[in-house]
Amino acid sequence: MTAATSLITLIALPFLGSVIAAFLPSNARNREAWVAGALALGALAIVISLHSAVADGGVVRLQLPWVPLLGLEFSLRMDGFAWMFALLITGIGFLVVLYARYYMSPEDPVPRFFSFLLAFMGAMLGVVLSGNLIQLAFFWELTSLFSFLLIGYWHHTGAARDGARMALIITGTGGLALLGGILVLGHIVGSYELDVVLAAGDAIRAHPLYLPALLLILLGAFTKSAQFPFQFWLPDAMAAPTPVSAYLHSATMVKAGVFLLARLWPVLSGTQEWFWLVTAAGLSTLVLGAYLAMFQQDLKGLLAYSTISHLGLITLLLGMNTPIAAVAGIFHIMNHATFKASLFMAAGIIDHETGTRDMRRLRGLRKALPITATLAIVASAAMAGVPLMNGFLSKEMFYTEALHTTTPFPLLGELLTYAAVVWGIFSVIYSLRFIHGVFFGPPADDLPREPHEPPRWMRFPIELLVLACLLVGVIPGRTIEPYLHTAVQGVLGEATPEYSLAVWHGFTLPLMMSLGAMFGGIALYATLRRFLLNRVDGPPLVRLVGRRIFERTLVFLSWRLARPLEARLFTWRLQRQLLIMVVVTLLVATAVLWGTDFSLPPIDWSAISPGLALVWLAGMACAIGAAYMAKFHRLAALILLGGAGLATCVTFVWFSAPDLALTQLMVEIATTVLLLLGLRWLPRRIKDARSTVRERSRRLRDLVIACVAGGGLGGLAFLVMTRPLPDSIARFFVERAYSEGGGTNIVNVILVDFRGFDTFGEITVLGIVALTVYALLRRFRPAPESIQRPKQQRLAAAHDDAHAARPRGDSIPQHMLVPSVIMRLMFPAAGALAIYLFLRGHNMPGGGFVGGLTLAIAIILQYMTGGTRWFEARWRINAVRWIALGLLCAAATGLGSWLFGHPFLTSHTRYIEIPLLGALPFASALLFDVGVFLLVVGATALLLLALAHQSIRSHRGQGVPAPTVSRKEKS
């Protein structure tokens, strides 16, 4: 496997696993964990194998053409920095899967969990490995989406739903801003390819659009990484299962924001704007997060605010505009991921074993959970930045930078130093709360559950991560340094500064700051311990309004603003909606055509052929008559509608559209039958004595609107027809129909060959409509007054009853005897006609549509003349199967061209000599047309038969209570 193919495999593996996990049975907890674990481990192995390719500044690229015409490619790119992130995502992902195997309860729908988790992993890998910024934004939104699903995993709790929704809205909105920023960036550079963008740093910084681009991109990054003032979504996301928190807060999701800051650091940083915006956000988040973390009573809440604080640190380091600070930031990304993941897992174990996360109730757990306690203590020490831990190293680098940074204002430099120390003190205090409060002191005796050490393998991920914290902290040079170097080179390239990761630098000022913060923190903790323990959840002095603003905005948008708008602009009344739609359409059309040259050519009365004029005289009369009769004389209106349809049909013949005429004729028959079948179930209208003035004025208004619409479209049609035809693409089809499509019927060749894909879509729609109608009619329960048999049937039954010799129900078949015999005899002829029309379609008027309709009508004629019972006793038409077969046939023809290396639906033409019939066109398009034919037969038959079938179904229920009907339906 080459490096490039490894990349695509790496991205595909988690998504593949997600699909597999989704389809596993819900009680297969082990199997899902095995699948997820194996795939995560496989992905991790791929990442590790790629190290040699990215070490020393190497870059692995893979570009697959996607829409080459638009210059769009699916572009993957892995450098050292992306490699480091991929390692964290897959490595910690694997550990989280292992942990979740033991954490999740058997009652939880586990397939969903692993499916989302793997998909989230894939999306995150997509973010870090995208070689194209638009693609990055896509995966970015995908992480928002999957984190929403993961946070809301326990959707029966309100907290999970609210937390998930808030996370989605905040990070999703940020994602939109990011997309905007990327578009601006792409506009500046002229390309969205990361390689090109990264090489254009100077041009970007000098461009007048730099600031808008920067603002938008920062908005995306800050919302994702929970930077002040967007930090409030992160604590609420704690409603997620703990493995999810451990994953979201360490290696993924919130790290995506700082990933982006570091990724674009070479092109966006180095300016005053960058410095002020990023440093300000980072610094306030750093201090605020640590301050708030001290006052949490929920274990996970404490960890969440500490995450916010540490993300602030990373942001701050990236904002300081010096390469060495950027190195510290990247280093801290890795360190934070390791200790925070292990701490969340430890918190999860405590929650699991004791049944609570409230620090006011937890104490003395050291005795019951000795190993977990040790692990958590070491990880907390790393979080506090105790020497010989990995957290210490990056903290020292931060202190060094805080002391040495040069800002335009000396005061700011000092502020930075003090803030750094204060942050150190706060960090020590909240870490101590976690360690001392939870594990030391007398054991609690009022816990919901008696705690025990968790299973061996549930602890394993924590052990591994804590070991990493220690190793990196003690011997950084031999463990992390080469990998950190790889990652830093990925971001800084040539500008990589000299730095050293030694544990011991001598008695320097940063070390003094560290020690001062540590002792200060311990002293302050000792003083404040009681105060902190007895408080309600939440900090003193600071009241954050971010969440409240968010909630108010949401209420305003979805309620205060929406309700009046709905009341004013919306109506539930369809009649009114249609009226508004027609009027608006008329207004828009008028506005568009305003000022157009309306000079009409003189009407040449002599050219009008009297024949067609007569046809249309009748046609127009039919249309207007249908409108007049529709309310009270529905059958008459239906017949008149058919009259207008026939006039349309004749017009098609007249104006050289034989295919249309054939189709219209068949559809006309089918529509009439359909409406007749439907008419039976709609209530009849009896003419009222008088209509009110209001009703009459409404009718007059509608009449005026209708006349304006008719006059408008008629006038438009006249204008269009009397203007010369511009050179259209029709010539293309006319010239190539025979030479390339192999058929002389140009319309048919367009349908099945040139525009085959459109036709494929259309027959799919047809199939869907037929199935929908079928489904809608499944629970058929007619209105009480339509259950009664029609008058004609009742008369016939009465006649039968009056004559003793006649069994009831004999009359109607006798009435229909002659037509039904004729129709039975005619069926082979009708079928042959259908096949004839279908076969000649490629060269002469005909084709799949017409042929299919013809066959369907032949079938429905049997139904009409023979009667429902006769037909259903003898014929078995599985119309659904015809639809499926037709669609499969058309799709298979299209896919077949792939076998020969051509795009979907490329056709192949050949004439085959068949005895007796002569040369027949045998194009692959013919097979496609077979699909059209089958589908049209199936869909039309299903539509008509489903409706026709209701007549016997409702009679079965006649006089019998409804349950009988529904029982029959089930059988």
Binding site: L574, Q575, R576, V582, I608, L612, A623, A626, A627, R634, A644, G645, T648, F655, S656, A657, D659, L660, T663, Q664, V667, T671, L674, L675, W681, L682, D702, L703, I705, A706, L713, G714, G715, A717, V720, M721, T722, L725, S728, A730, F733, V734, I746, V747, L751, R755, T759, L766, V769, A770, L776, L777, R781, P782, N843, L853, V936, A939, L943, L947
Partner: protein
């Protein structure tokens, strides 16, 4: 000839729109049917009208009616039929569920 076709289209549209604005489901269904006739005719007309020139690439044929609108309209006719079937079913279903045939769902 153009004038005749245009006035036919106009008359059908007028009847169709009037029916579309009615309160009962059946007239609305008929209105939709009439409107689809008019729209199909209009589309064919937009390719200009030709007499005795079917779009068949037979030997010796030099004049062709525009095949493109015809191909569009051919599927439109079939889809129009499906739409009518759907609306009819919807009307029946609404009648059963809501116990009236007003398009608003209530009298």
């Amino acid at each position: 000839m153009e004038f005749l076709l245009a006035s036919a289209i106009g008359a059908i549209v007028a009847a169709g729109v009037y029916l579309l604005l009615r309160a009962r489901t059946f007239p609305v269904i008929l209105g939709l049917g009439l409107l689809s006739y008019a729209v199909n005719l209009y589309l064919v007309a937009s390719g200009r009208i030709a007499i005795g020139a079917p779009p068949l690439a037979l030997e010796g044929a030099t004049e062709f009616a525009d095949p493109l609108p015809q191909a569009l309209v051919l599927t439109a006719i079939v889809i129009g039929f499906a739409m009518t079937a759907f609306v009819v079913t919807l009307a029946i279903k609404a009648r059963m569920t809501l116990n009236n045939d007003h398009v608003d769902g209530k009298e």
